[in-house]
Amino acid sequence: MIWKIAFRNLVKNARRSVTTALAIGVGGLAALLLGGFVTSIWYGVQTSMIQDQGNLQIYRNGYLEFGAANPEAYTIPDWQAAIDVIRADAALAAEIAVITPRIDLSGVAGNAATGNSKTFIGQGVVAADLAKMRQWDGWNIGEAGLPTGLPEDPASEEVVVGLGMARMLGVCEALAVPDCKDAPEAGAGREADPSAAEYTGLVAGDADLAGITAGGTGQPQLNLMAATTEGVPNIIAVRIAAAKAQAVRALDNAFVLLPFDQARALVFDGSPEATTIMVQIQDPDRADAVKARIQTLLGEAGMDLSAYHFTEVDPTFTRIFGMFAFIFAVVSAVLALVIVFTIFNTVSMTVVERVKEIGTIRAMGFRRGFVGRLFLAESALTGLFGAALALALGVGLSRMVNSAGVQWTPPSNATPLTVRLMVLENPTFAISVLLFLVVIAVLAAVLPTFRAARLNIVQSLQRG
């Protein structure tokens, strides 16, 4: 009977009920869509980072704290041995999709043809392994990994540079990169400094001096110079296969992705060292378990290495997600406030209109709690209608947006992701939002309802 009365009163005051349900519905819709967007960031950004870096990374102990100042002192002494230890574990074998070493390095890069040179930040990777990592889609969100641009032949001498790097080296035209123009008179200013000129000459053009000849493939030639772990300057000649944009501008302006063996030859002089071992896991939700297991295995093998989640190494994801979570929290709080005020207002009006009915019900021997339930039921129903509206609109609108294929480049990415508002794909979230709507609809009604229940019976009955 309570629900019958509640429902019929809502129908009776149709316009007011619809307005209130709309306020709840639109508020819920905004929360669902924004939440759907944040969800897609959660999965999308993590996916592209895992495609690039793996879920876990193994470093020599101390690297994350002190490695930046003295990278040579914190390399993994024998990456193959470490990988063998992990691969030997049968349970892990099924969980791990890719396990591959990487060498991080830096130095000076120069192009002989243009005479330009500049510092570079490089990563030496096993091209085939990275290509496989780029295919990872552990959450099945359909995010296609980008090709690395590196040939998979381990002996290849081809490298990939950042777009900014290509521009600065003046190789855009040679690579036929769209939206990339070579700087006019690149490097002209630098000639004034004689010591710089000497250095530039060494890296950029004086191939004879370094004893290296450029290949005749038509690809721009690049000389990379770096210090080996012993501190001896070393130089290799490679060819630029492609230029690919990097997310961070500073990195894009200096980035070189090179074959693992080339990097190894340049800085480790053939020794079995590596900066890190990237571990990509089939099921991202198993990352913590795999990390613990790897840690145990490395410890048992007496290796001075530790495994880290990629978010521990690079806080970018945590920060991006934190920012969106914060925005979501603020927007939700504002929406909740609007909903609370709307409902408070509606229930207060309803109570005032029905004071005499309240007095009558109380006179008939119903306790205060019954009167309370009568009005709370009405509010709960309004909340339910609002939530249903939010769900219907949310599903409809997210489908529309998703099929429109809007592109968005997250702060961490070089290339845009297709915006996919994940509303139903995150059922826990969607259900929480809908439940929250009903709960605040009820909570917002508590105060006016409480007042209604406590009305003086005689005075309510005297009301006209």
Binding site: M1, K4, I5, R8, N9, K12, K356, E357, G359, T360, I361, R362, A363, M364, G365, F366, R367, R368, I457, V458, L461
Partner: protein, 243 residues
């Protein structure tokens, strides 16, 4: 329906057992003040009287004399500031809000001047409504409501809403609603004030008939003395005092 009434009477005897003259209500020096902006208005002054069970008692008096206040205290929706009230042999003076509500649900029915039906409920649902406080199945509630609507002559309009019937018919529904839980006491404050003379007589006659049929105690407040049947017990209140 007779079974229900027997049950009610049995129930009544459990409380009134032992008292020679069955007394529905006993007022002992009941005083009631209203506070209006810190000014005290005395509505009832040391009212003492008894209402016999199984009668239709009329309360009369000029406007503002305290009739409604008297009925509100009798019906347990208001409390005296001083004095004592006994209903069916039980001291109900100090009952708390919930206990008073429970007592009303079991023992007291109300009929109001402006009918006070719930507009969104059908006539049958209106009569069913107070039965929600009784331990009955939904089916029993519906049957009981239908039976009482039949008894007041509205069996054919059960599915209408209060807005779709006349004032006299509404008050009949209110009578059925007050009777349906089979209370021992029915309190009616000016039940005919909003009705024309003919309808008023019909309602009073209906109440008298129902009182006789179900042997309840009915207390009606009215200033239309011509409606009072001869030989009825009358309590006259003037200026907050029983005369």
């Amino acid at each position: 329906m007779n079974q229900h009434i027997e049950a009610a009477q049995l129930d009544g005897q459990t409380i009134t057992a032992g008292s020679a003259a069955p007394c529905a209500a006993r007022f002992e020096a009941v005083t009631k003040d209203y506070r209006l902006d810190k000014v005290k208005v005395r509505a009832l002054t040391e009212v003492s009287c008894t209402i016999l069970a199984g009668t239709t008692t009329f309360i009369t008096g000029p406007s503002g004399s305290g009739k409604s206040t008297f009925l509100n205290i009798l019906g347990l929706v208001d409390r005296p500031d001083a004095g004592r009230l006994e209903l069916f042999g039980a001291d109900v003076t100090g009952l708390g809000d919930a206990a008073a509500a429970d007592f009303r649900a079991r023992n007291i029915g109300f009929i109001f001047q402006s009918f006070n039906l719930i507009p969104v409920l059908s006539l049958r649902e209106n009569v069913e409504f107070p039965l929600l406080r009784q331990p009955m199945s939904g089916r029993a509630r519906r049957d009981r409501a239908a039976a009482y609507l039949e008894a007041v002559g509205l069996g054919g309009l059960m599915d209408r809403r209060p807005g779709e019937i006349s004032g006299g018919q509404r008050q009949r529904v209110a009578v059925a609603r007050a009777l349906a839980p089979e209370p021992r006491l029915i309190v009616a404050d000016e039940p005919t004030a909003n009705l024309d003379t003919r309808t008023s007589r019909e309602i009073v006659a209906l109440l008298a008939r129902m009182q006789a049929e179900f042997n309840t105690t009915v207390v009606i407040c009215t200033h239309e003395t011509q409606l009072i049947p001869p030989h009825s017990p009358v309590i006259e209140i003037i200026d907050g005092r029983v005369v």
